[in-house]
C-alpha cells in the first residue's frame, strides 16, 4: 500500500527500530513458549482485550493470517499498539511467567510480527457485516480513538466519516510518536486499511458552527479530538524562537521539517513525551540533552523503561530544578533556574540562594497538553469536568445523547491503547443505544 509518505532518509537512518523485529523462526520459538493460559491475564490486562494466547498459538501453528485477524478483531490499530504500547505494565507485565521467575512472553514483538506479516501481504481486512445500515456517523478527530470507533462502526454496517483539521489522519500515531517506535508511514498504512473498510476521511476545521452542522448532517457524533496545544512554559522570555514545544519538535523531524538540532538542548518535564523529545534531540545530533524536572526521580510520570532508555541514549537528568526565566544571549539561551524542595504541605518552594543558569541553545517544554476546552464547550449539552468530557463508562455516551466520546479528551491523556479501547467501546455503545431506541420506537 502506497501512502505517499516518505520520511527523510537521514532522519530514518538516525531512528532505526528500537527493538529489532522477530524473524519467522524466532517468532515460532517464542510463540511456543506461551503456556496458552485459560482466561489469560494478559488478555484481561490489555485495554482492548486482544485474545493473546489465541493469536500467539496461531503464530505457532503457522496460521499467521489468522493470527493477524484475531488481533485486528479486538484492536484495529494492532500494528501501532504492538510498537507503542507500554507492554511492560500491560500484557507482558501480567504474564504468568513472572510467577515462575521466567521471562514473560514477548507479546508485543509477536503481535508486531503478525501485524507486519499482515501488512506486508497487502493488509486488507474483510468487512464483518455485509448489510449496510443507513445511519451516518461522524468521528471527530482522526487519532486512535476515532479510528477505532470508526472502524468498529463501519464493521457494524454504519456510514462513517472521520473528520480532522490536519492533512494526514492518525493523530498522535502519525505526528507524535518517536520514530524509532512507530514510523509515520506505518501509522498511515493502518489508516489506509481502515479506509479500505469504507470509512471516509475529511479534512475540515470544526468550530462552534461546524459542530452544529455536524449535528444536522450526522446521526451520532463521536468526539475523539484528544487534547489541545501543549502547556506553555510560563516564564519570562518563553516566546523566544529557541523555545519549541515537544510535540511540535517531534512532528518536525517526523515530517521532514526539521533535520537537525542545535548542540545544547534542555527539555523541561519528565513525562513520556519529554523522553521522546529528549532522545530525538540526541539522535538529531545534540551534544548535550538535559531533562529538567522539579521533583525527584521517584515522582516522574514516565514509565521506568522509558527513563532507562533515556539514560542509555545519553540524556542527563537534573532533579528538583525549576526554570524561572529565559534570556537570549549572544550564543544561545540563558535559562535561569532555582532549586526547589517540597514544604510540609507538599508545595514546592525555592531553596534560598539556589539560583543557577543553564547555557543552552534550545528549550523544549514538555509539561503536558491542555484540554481542548474551547471546542468541546461548544458541543451543546456535553458536560465537562476538570477539562474532560463526562461519559458513561460502559457506552461512551456523553450527557448529550447524540454525542459520544473517548480517548484523551475523556481520560485526560493516557496511552494509545486506552484511546482505542474507548473508541471501540463507544462504537459498540452507539450500536447498542441505537438498537435500544429502535426497540423503544418500534
Amino acid at each position: 500500500m502506497d501512502t505517499g509518505f516518505v520520511v527523510d532518509p537521514d532522519v530514518a537512518a538516525r531512528f532505526p527500530d528500537l527493538h529489532p523485529p522477530l524473524g519467522k523462526r524466532a517468532a515460532v520459538v517464542e510463540a511456543n513458549r506461551c503456556l496458552n493460559c485459560f482466561d489469560a491475564p494478559c488478555m484481561s490486562a490489555c485495554p482492548t482485550h486482544i485474545d493473546v494466547p489465541q493469536f500467539i498459538k496461531k503464530i505457532a501453528s503457522g496460521n499467521v493470517p489468522g493470527s493477524a485477524k484475531t488481533i485486528l478483531e479486538a484492536n484495529v490499530l494492532g500494528a501501532s499498539c504492538s510498537r507503542v504500547c507500554p507492554v511492560e505494565v500491560l500484557c507482558e507485565g501480567s504474564c504468568v511467567m513472572h510467577g515462575k521467575s521466567e521471562r514473560p512472553i514477548e507479546i508485543g514483538r509477536l503481535q508486531r510480527f503478525a501485524m507486519e506479516t499482515f501488512y506486508d501481504a497487502g493488509g486488507k481486512l474483510p468487512l464483518r457485516r455485509r448489510e449496510e445500515r443507513q445511519q451516518r456517523m461522524a468521528c471527530l478527530g482522526a487519532g486512535p480513538s476515532s479510528l477505532a470507533c470508526a472502524a468498529e462502526l463501519r464493521q457494524l454496517g454504519f456510514q462513517v466519516t472521520v473528520i480532522d483539521r490536519r492533512a494526514l489522519p492518525g493523530g498522535l500515531n502519525t505526528y507524535g510518536v518517536a520514530e524509532y517506535k512507530l514510523r509515520t508511514a506505518d501509522s498511515l498504512r493502518e489508516v489506509e486499511m481502515i479506509r479500505g473498510l469504507g470509512v471516509k476521511f475529511e479534512v475540515r476545521d470544526i468550530d462552534a458552527a461546524g459542530l452544529e452542522e455536524l449535528e444536522r448532517e450526522f446521526d451520532v457524533v463521536f468526539l475523539g479530538v484528544g487534547l489541545g496545544a501543549m502547556h506553555r512554559l510560563d516564564v519570562e522570555g518563553s516566546t523566544s524562537a529557541g523555545v519549541i514545544d515537544a510535540l511540535e519538535f517531534i512532528e518536525g523531524y517526523k515530517t521532514g521539517a526539521r533535520l537537525t538540532v542545535a548542540p545544547r538542548v534542555v527539555v523541561v518535564g519528565a513525562g513520556n513525551t519529554a523522553i521522546d523529545a529528549a532522545c530525538a534531540a540526541k539522535r538529531l545530533g545534540a551534544e548535550t540533552v538535559t531533562i529538567l524536572y522539579r521533583r525527584q526521580r521517584a515522582n516522574i510520570s514516565a514509565f521506568d523503561f522509558e527513563y532507562e532508555h533515556a539514560l542509555r541514549e545519553g540524556v542527563k537528568f537534573l532533579w528538583t530544578a525549576l526554570p524561572v526565566g529565559l534570556r537570549e544571549t549572544e550564543d544561545g539561551i540563558a535559562l535561569a533556574c532555582l532549586e526547589v524542595a517540597p514544604d510540609e504541605a507538599g508545595l514546592l518552594v525555592p531553596l534560598e540562594g539556589s539560583e543557577f543558569t543553564i547555557e543552552c541553545d534550545v528549550v523544549i517544554p514538555a509539561i503536558g497538553q491542555s484540554p481542548l476546552v474551547d471546542l468541546l464547550s461548544q458541543a451543546r449539552g456535553v458536560s465537562m469536568e476538570w477539562g474532560r468530557v463526562v461519559i458513561d463508562r460502559a457506552t461512551g455516551q456523553t450527557t448529550n445523547p447524540k454525542y459520544f466520546a473517548g480517548g484523551d479528551c475523556v481520560n485526560g491523556g493516557r496511552e494509545v491503547v486506552d484511546a482505542i479501547a474507548d473508541g471501540k467501546r463507544a462504537a459498540l455503545g452507539i450500536a447498542a443505544v441505537l438498537a435500544g431506541n429502535e426497540v423503544a420506537n418500534g
Binding site: V29, R33, D39, S44, P86, V96, M97, G99, S301
Partner: protein
Amino acid sequence: MADLTTNFAGGIKCPNPFWLASAPPTNCGEQIMRAFDAGWGGAVWKTIGEPITNVSSRYSSVDWAGQRMMGLNNIELISDRPIEVNLLEIAEVKRLYPKHAVIASLMVESKREVWHEMVKRAEGAGSDGLELNFGCPHGMSERGMGSAVGQVPEYAQMITEWVKEVARTPVLVKLTPNISDIRVVARAAKRAKADGLSAINTINSITGIDLDTFEPRPNVGGKSSHGGYCGPAVKPIALNMVQQVNSDYVDGPPIPMSGIGGVSNWRDAAEFILMGCGTVQVCTAAMHYGYRIVEDMIDGLSNWMDEKGFVTIEDFRGKSLTKVTEWKHLNLNYKIVAQIDEALCIGCQLCHIACWDGAHQCIHVDRVTGSVDGHVEVHAKPREMGRERIAVTPIPKLDAPKVHVGTHATSLERIPRVDETECVGCNLCSLVCPVDHCITMVERPSGLAPETWAERTNALVDRAG
C-alpha cells in the same frame, strides 16, 4: 564408584551397556572407532548383506512445539557397502579395540546355506556377536527379508535355528514392533535357542504431508513410502514392548534383552535397564547430536547408581518388572486427589480448563478467600473478573501500583480450587500444570481394605457359586 562393565547374552563383554544401534552411526569402521573413543561400549554394525541401492531423500521427522526431531522416520535400507569391505573393517576395529563389543547385524536371503556362509564370515572377521535383523519395516520386507521374517514366528524360528547351527558367538534376534503381539516372535526366538533379543526396531510410519504439494515426507521425486519411526516419541511404546517380552514365561524364561527405542540419555537407559535390559542401543539421539552424548550417559548413570547405592548394572536390572501388573490386580480402593500449592501457582488456569473439558469438572475458579473445599454451588464467582472488566494502562503517578501481598506468586482470585469430593485422582491437572511440584496428588485413605477387580469379581463368582 559404579561399575558399568557389562557381560551380555552369555559372553559379549564391553566397558558399559551403551551400544550404538545398527544404523548410519555404525556405517563404517572409521565411525565406530571414533564412537569408541567417545566412550560407547559397543556397536552393532549397520546391517550387512548383499549391497543395496538407497534412494534420496531418506529421512523425515516430527517436530514438536519448536523442538526438532521428536520422532524420526527413515526409508533407508541395509548397508550399501560390499560385504567384504564391512568384514575387513570389523577385523580392523576389533584389532584396535579388543575390549569393545562389535556385533555384526546380518540380513541375507532366506536360504540356509546363505545364512551359514554369512555367519561364518562375520565371526571369522572377529565380531563378538550376531544380531539377526528381522525388523526392517520397509524395502527389505518387500524382498522377503527384515520384518517379512519378523512378522511370521515360523520363519523367524527357522532362520534363527539355521544361524545357531553354525554360530559360535551369541546370537541376538532383533524384533519388529509391527506386529500385534511382539511376544510371539520373541517366543519363536527362544524356541530356536537364541542367546538374546534386541527390541524394538522402527515402527511403520508416515510422518507428515507437505500441504503445498500434497506429497508425504520423505519425498523421493514426488512420491513417498512408509518408513520406520524412532526417536524420543517411540520410547513409551518400546518400553512397554520390552516389559511384555521380559515378563513372558511362555516357551521358557525371558532371555537377555538389549533395549532400543528412543533412548536419548541416561534416564531413558536406566528405565530400560530397570525393565530388565542388559544393554541399551541408541540411534536417533546419536544421529541428532553426535557420539558425544555418551559422555553424559555414562556420567549420569554412574552418579545415579552411586546415589542409589548400586554397584553394578545387575544390582538394579529388572527391578521395575515386578511393579508392572495386570490392571485387574490394581487396588480399587486406593484414592488420591489433586492438591494445589497456592504459593507456587502462577494462575495460568490450565488445570481448570483441563479438568473442566478433559476430566471431571472439579477444579473451579471461584475463589473468594482462602482455601475452601466443598461443592461449587457454595461459592459465587468474584464480581468483575476477566475480560468484562474495563482495563486501562496504569500510569505511575495516577494509579496505585499493584502491590504484591504475601508469599504467593499470584493473586488469590486466579488460583483455582480443587473440589476433592469430586476429584477422581486421574492426574491430568498435575500433568498439565507448568510449575514443578505445584499440583501434587495426595492420598486420601478411603478407609477400605485393598481390593482388586480380580478379587471383587472372584467374590461375586464365589457368592454366586
